[in-house]
Every structure is written in structure tokens, then in C-alpha cells.
Amino acid sequence: MNPFSIFLRKLSLLFRRNRFRTELDEEMAFHRAQSERELVVSGLSSEKAHSTAAHQFGNTTQILEQSHNNIAFRWETVVQDLRFTLRQLRKNPGFAATAILIIALGIASSVAIFAFVDAALIQPLPYQNPARLVQLFESIPLGPRFHLSYPDYLDWKRDNKVFQSLNVFEPFGFMMKTPDGLRQTDGARVSDGFFRTLGVTPILGRDFYYGEDRPEAPRTTLLTYAAWQKRYGGSPNVLGQTVVLDGDPYVIVGVLPRDFSFAPAEPADFWAILKPSSCRGCHGLFGVARLKDGVSFSAAFADIEAVAQQLERQYPDSNRDQRAFMLPLTDVIVGDIRPILLTVLIGAGLLLLIACVNVASLLLVRTESRRREMAVRGALGASPRRLVRQFITEGMLLACVGSALGIACAEKSMRLLATLIPKDMMAAMPFLHNLGLNARVLAFAVLLAVFAGALFAFTPILRMRFSEIREGLSEGGRGAAGIVWRHFGSRLVVIELATAMVLLTSAGLLGKSFYRLLHVDIGLEPDHIATVHINAQPEKYNKDEKQVALAREIVSSLAQLPGVKSAAITTKLPIEDADGTTGFRVVGRPYHGEHNEVPIRFVSTGYMTTLRTTLVSGRYFADADNVSGAKVVIVNQALAKQYFPGENPVGKQITFGGPKDPAMSIVGLINDIQEGQLDAAPRGAMYLPFVQNPSSSFVVLVRTVQDERAMLPAVEAALQSIDSGMAIYNPMTMDEKIHDAPSTYLHRSSAWIVGGFAVTALLLGVVGLYGVIAYSVSQRTREIGVRMAMGAERRTVYRMVLAEAGQLIVIGVAFGLVISVPAGLLMRNLLFGVRAWDAPTLAAVAAVLALASLLASFLPARRAASVSPAEALRAE
């Protein structure tokens, strides 16, 4: 008989199950009746014959079951088990809901975080063979990741022997001419082969051709896909159109692919051709290069370092101390976020572990109370294999439902998490646009679900030894088994408590880092400061006097706004980066072309009083420090310490590197304003009067009386009325600047996420402990009853229960302490101003965990103590 017709027959029987059963029943009844008749004929009484026939025939249910198995599909028993499981869970909805919720929580957090890890660290960058791409920097004494100059780029490109191609790019904020005046536009400038090096081809139009970056070639630009859609409605007619950027006409020659992003220069709408410069001391470019086949990263690094050293010898004036530095492009793009993501992923994993252990111990408790049921089913003919399968079905069902719910929540929560990322941060992490439940993330989720299901299935099976089944029937499942379970369950609780401890400590350390970061002395009072960036048309304000006049007008009109205490101007706000540097030398000291590179800011008279910095010595700028006045400069303490150790710098003279640069007198010494990110060490910086070095683009700040956020529209309106042709952009408050700064954001988000995991872990751990103690008490009700009947006081009962809990808590916390320190060391890159073994944090966490755990065990202890001896003894 071929398998197909057997399948058909099985199928037709599937729809006639009832008839199959009644027919078989009738057949068997007939059989028994026949045997009974025989027995009567052979002389037995009819009653005796009836029972003998029935006895001879055996277990009808079992026969029915076996016959059924012979003709049924294999999966039908699975359906049966599922139905039974559903009935069981419906009978105990509290258990089912708790277990499913806990699993869903664990899975959701792990999967959501994994999706971020996938988008940032696993999905390849949208370039051809991204692993062979590197980013090149010039390393100067201030730090390794500084810019190249254009002539250096050309020499690096010509002299290296290790790169297939080397190109440069520069993030560049363009001022775009629009009918309404200048508008600030994000963009980048790149050399001709930039996109070919990355292996990116425009989807519309063409790439830059070789030599398009020569001075005589017309200026051209590419558009990102998003900018094409947003600014040109996705029209193909965009090719050949002209945009005026920074006063120069650029022809649009192509549109970049939709999935293109290049984080080091983002956000950028226009990718314009970079024109050459002959200034070897002007730095603004980063290199991007593709390694030749077979060339290792370190070999390439050595080669480009040698090239830079050669240049240093060749151009001692401009290139002194300018080394090469190189990083894999992937590290540049995801290097900052990698440790955070991995930490958070481990946190999520630990939470999932606690969640699973928790559900497993809930299942164990249920197993205990189901020993009798198992015994009955076994006696009625269920095979051990079938009973085991029942557990597996239950475990898998819980895991599946919980995981399905978890995956649904993960989708929601990853979207939520993504919206919490500030816009600027998001722009710097374009790879996060690929965030989503893709195949890899789903596979990860399924893997977790299978793991959880297996854990849930096998925990009760391990406990339920089938030799005990018969015992279970006779004695009601009490005694030794309960004790064994208590040991097993309590081991699980120790794991939970220790894990919770690790998570809590990590959260504590990260929280403390974040607190420390926010309370770094930034050298100014950030409250009540509102800021706006301004870019005036260079062709209108083409002379120093005009720029000074504009700045004066802006400061005086803003200062007169009601609610404004003072207004000021700077060329760069604090808490950004330490860029905008210049070299200087001290007049009267021998000079050998050293690069004493320090950040330099051009500020108005009221800048320091508006920020409320501290004057250490000398004076702030005054109105007399104008174009006709003597050249003056204010330096900070870090600079004084570095270049004037043991001296008062006020009264000394410095000058910029060139021989024709005029000498400037240091008139003031102020405290260190944090120019770089919050977690950066303070650096030397100098401040020059804006009026002596004016420009047409700057930042205005106002100190307000009340809410600074509310003042921003008035400030912008006032600026508009001065000259509506200016680009007025980036309105924000100083507090926002501090809170949205990348370093703050990274610290804050990791502290919050791990903190969330830790609180959940604490809850789950405490609930787990409660479960163990409560179960132990319920098993010992009788014993407690006996003790109390024998005269034990309630206090003794309390002590007995709390001692049991206390032991678990001490072991759990001790383990947690031991693991917490290495865990803290693992994430030391994320810590700021706090060590992995920070004693106050460890002590506080241990105390919180112990207290919460004691509280949880207090409830069952009270129940135990309130046992009425008479009832307890009667209870059986």
C-alpha cells in the first residue's frame, strides 16, 4: 500500500474520529458480551461471568488509545498535549499570566537591544568590502584624531605604497542662498575619488570624474537621496540645476543611493567637490583609504607613518610634530557606541537569565503540586515518555507565547528607544536607520525562545523521577521530595540574587558616572543661557568694520530685550570639541617651530561675565580692547599651568607662529571653561576680542532672567529684524547643550537602560526569593504546627523562616559582590570619575538588595508564624 493512500485514509479517519470511537466501543462491547455468554454457558453465574469477561478483556481506554495511535497522525498527540496544557494553564491563570509576562519582558528587552547591536555592529556598512577601509588622521600633541591639510593629502596619496586609493572629506556646514536669504545647510566636501574609494555609485546622474577637483573644473555636487526627496521632490530634472553654496555656484550632477550614509561627515545633504588649497598649515580634512589586497592594517599604518615623518623632515615649519594616525573606518563609525551596546546587551542577557530562572522555579513549584496528577496519569496507562512530553509541551507553550509577546513588544520598544535618541546623535549614527526585526534578529529571538523552552521543559523533568510516580500516588507527594526541591529551588534563587546584584551594581556605577559627568566643573554657570548660531552673508559683510558693526548691533539689541540680563558673542560654544586650534609662542623665549596648539575662541566683551566664569588674575576684555587698541588675549588656567608653570602669565606676551604676527599681551587669567566634551580633560585655551578678529559667522548667547527656552523665539525674532538675510540656526539652551552632548547622551542612556534592567532584575529576584520561602513555608506548615503545639513561640518561627531566607540572601549577595567587580572592570570604558570597585556603590547595592529580599521573606514568615497549630495538624 503506498504511503499516499495511507495518508488519505488517515485524513478521512481524522474527520470521523467520533464514529471511529463509537464503532470501536461497540465492537469491544460485543466482544465482552460474547465472552460473557461463553462463560455463562460454561456454568458461571451471570454476575461472575460479567466481571470475569470485563477483567479478561482489560483496559478499554488503553485499547482505544492504542488503536487510535495506530491510525492517527503523529502530531495529533501533540495537539492533545497542547489542549491539555491549555486546560491546565486556564485552571491556573495567575501562574500562566505571570510566567508569560516574565518571559515576554526578558525576551523583549534582549531582542530590542540585540536589534541595536545588529544594526550597529553586525550589519556591514553600506560600502564595498568595508573591512578594507580605513580613516586617516593627522596626530598632533593635542591628540591623535586631528585633520590633514590639502598639500599633506596630496603627498600622502602620492608617496604611500599601501592604499588602492586615498581620498579626503571634510564635514562642512554650507550657507545656501535661497530667495529668503542665507540658510544653513549640512554638507560635506570630498575629493574626486571619494565615492569610488567607498565603492558607492550614484543612482542618478554621475559620480565626480577624476580631475573634477582641479581648480579650473566647474564646481559640482552630489545630493543624498533624502535631500533629493525633501528639497527636489525626487524629480529627475534635478540634474544640471545649480545651487549657490557659500557664494559659489555648484551644479548638481548626481544623487546618492538611498542606503548611503557616511557617519563621520553626517548630517550632510550636499556632497560637494573639494577644491585644492596650497596651505600646508591649514587643517580641515580627514582621509579615507582602501587597503591594497594583501596589505595588513599594521603594515599600512607603518607605511603612512613613514610618509608623514618624511614630510615632517621636509617641511619643518608647518609639519613639526604632525604624525599620521589611522583607524579602521568601522571603528571610527561604531567605536564609541560599541562598548555601550555590548554592556547593555549583556545586561539584557542577564535580565533574561533571571526571568527564565524565575519562571523555571515557578514551574518547579507547580511540578511539586502535580506529583499526584502525574502518578494518576501514569497509573491510567500514560507512558513515561508521554508524561515527559507533557512537560515539554508545557514548557514550549509558555516559551512560545511569552516569546511571541516579547517579540511584539521588542518591535515597539526598539522604535521607542530610537525616538529617544536626540536628532544630532541619530544623524551621527546613520546605521541605526536599519534598525528593525530582520531575519537575524528574529533568528536570535527564536534561539532565545528555544533556550527558554528547553529550560522550562527540562527543569521539572529533572525533578520528576519516574520511579517516584507510584510513591507519589500513595503518599501524596510530601516529605523528602519537598526538601530536595527546596535545595534545587534555592540554588536557582541564589543565581537570581547574584545576577540582580551584578545588574544593580552596574547600574549604580553607570548612574554615578552620569552624575559625576553632569557635575563636572565646566567653569561656567549653564543655567539661564540661550544660544543661537548666526551666519551673515559674507558678500554683504565683507569688511571688518561691517562685521564689527553687525556684532555690536546684535549684542546691544539683544541686551535690551526684556528678560535678558546680558548678551555676548563667541565663535564656538563650550562643550563641543577642542577643535578650532591655533599654534602660538611666547615672546622672548627661544622658538624652534614647536606646535603649541591650543583651542582659540574670539569672544565679545561681555562673554565671560555672561557665562559667569571666574577671573583668577588680571581683567576681562573692556570696550577699549578694540581695533585701535593694543592686541590682548585672555588665557585659562590649564594654559598657564602648561606654558607658564610657577609664573603669573598676566603681563606676558604671546604671538601666533608666523614672524609677522603681532605680539599680544595677556591681560587676564580665567578658570578653565570646558571647551571639549564633558568627559575630556581640561585643556589650555585662549580667548581673543571678537572686535580685533571679526567674522561674519558666530554664536550669540544671552543670559535671561527667567526660562531661557521661552526666550529663544524673542531672540530669533530680534535677530531677524536686524537682518532677515542672515542664516539663524541651532537655537538651544546651554543646559540642552550639556544634556544632549554626545558624551552625556551615551552615559545617560546606558545608565538608564541598565538601571531599568537592574530594577526589573531586583523585582524578579525578590519575587523568586518570595516564591522559594513561601513554598518552603507551605511545605512545612505541618512541622510548624507541631513545633507550635510543642510550645514554640511565634518569635522562634519567625526566626526559623527568616534564617532560611537570610542564608540564601547572604550567599546570593556574596556571589554578586564577587562577580560585580570584574563586571565593573569590563565596562570601565563607560565609567567616569568612579572605579569598578567603588565601595559606596557596592555597599549601597548590597544593602538595597538585602533589605528588599528580607522584606520579601518577611511575608511568608508572618504567615508561618500565624499558623494555628490545630489547623496545621489537621491539614493533610
Binding site: R9, E23, M28, A33
Partner: protein, 109 residues
């Protein structure tokens, strides 16, 4: 005295063989095997009915409800052509097996 169990795997063959003589109901099959084996072989009801379902599924027997001589409804099983072929196959295999076992046993020690 405890009666010997059926050799494993032989129940299907015995049922099919029994049905070559005439269509029978389950009770009849059991009785028939018992009688022809001189009460040596007893077919357990617990194996008989599941086995019959298996044979039906394989298409080696057919079943239909008929009235017995005592005027009760009973399900009668009839051998099909496929069943006859299967019987031949099983008998051959069984005989080969018995011969082989016999040879091993008749080997002088």
C-alpha cells in the same frame, strides 16, 4: 500455567491467515486463533483491536457491519487482495526465519 506470548510480529500474520477462511468479527478471530492453535496461542484483546485498526489502515483488510447468527450487530473483517499478498510475504519471511532458527538449534553441541 502461563501461556506463552505470541512471537513478536506474528499477530498480523495470524489475523490475516485466519481471515483467509471466512470473514470474521474480532471475537471470532481471537476464538479462531485459540482453537486452531489448540489453546496454545491467546490473542490479547489489548493487541487485537489496535492491530485490526493498523491492518485496516494499510488496506489489507476491509470491515463492514453485519448481523451475527444471534442477531447482534458486529463488525466483520474481510481479507483484501493486498492483504492476501501481504500474507504470502509474511509467511515466506516467517518460514525463512524458522528454518534459520531450526538450523542453528539442530547444530550438535
Amino acid at each position: 500455567m502461563k501461556k506463552p506470548d505470541l512471537l513478536p510480529g506474528t499477530l498480523d500474520m495470524l489475523i490475516l491467515k485466519t481471515l483467509t477462511r471466512a470473514p470474521l468479527h474480532g471475537y471470532g478471530i481471537a476464538q479462531s486463533i485459540k482453537r486452531f492453535s489448540d489453546d496454545v496461542l491467546t490473542v490479547e484483546e489489548g493487541s487485537l483491536y489496535p492491530a485490526l485498526q493498523r491492518l485496516l489502515l494499510q488496506g489489507w483488510v476491509k470491515a463492514e457491519w453485519k448481523m451475527t447468527e444471534t442477531n447482534r450487530r458486529a463488525r466483520f473483517y474481510t481479507l483484501t487482495a493486498a492483504g492476501r499478498k501481504q500474507l504470502g510475504l509474511e509467511v515466506t519471511q516467517f518460514e525463512q526465519m524458522i528454518t534459520a532458527i531450526g538450523r542453528v538449534l539442530s547444530e550438535p553441541a
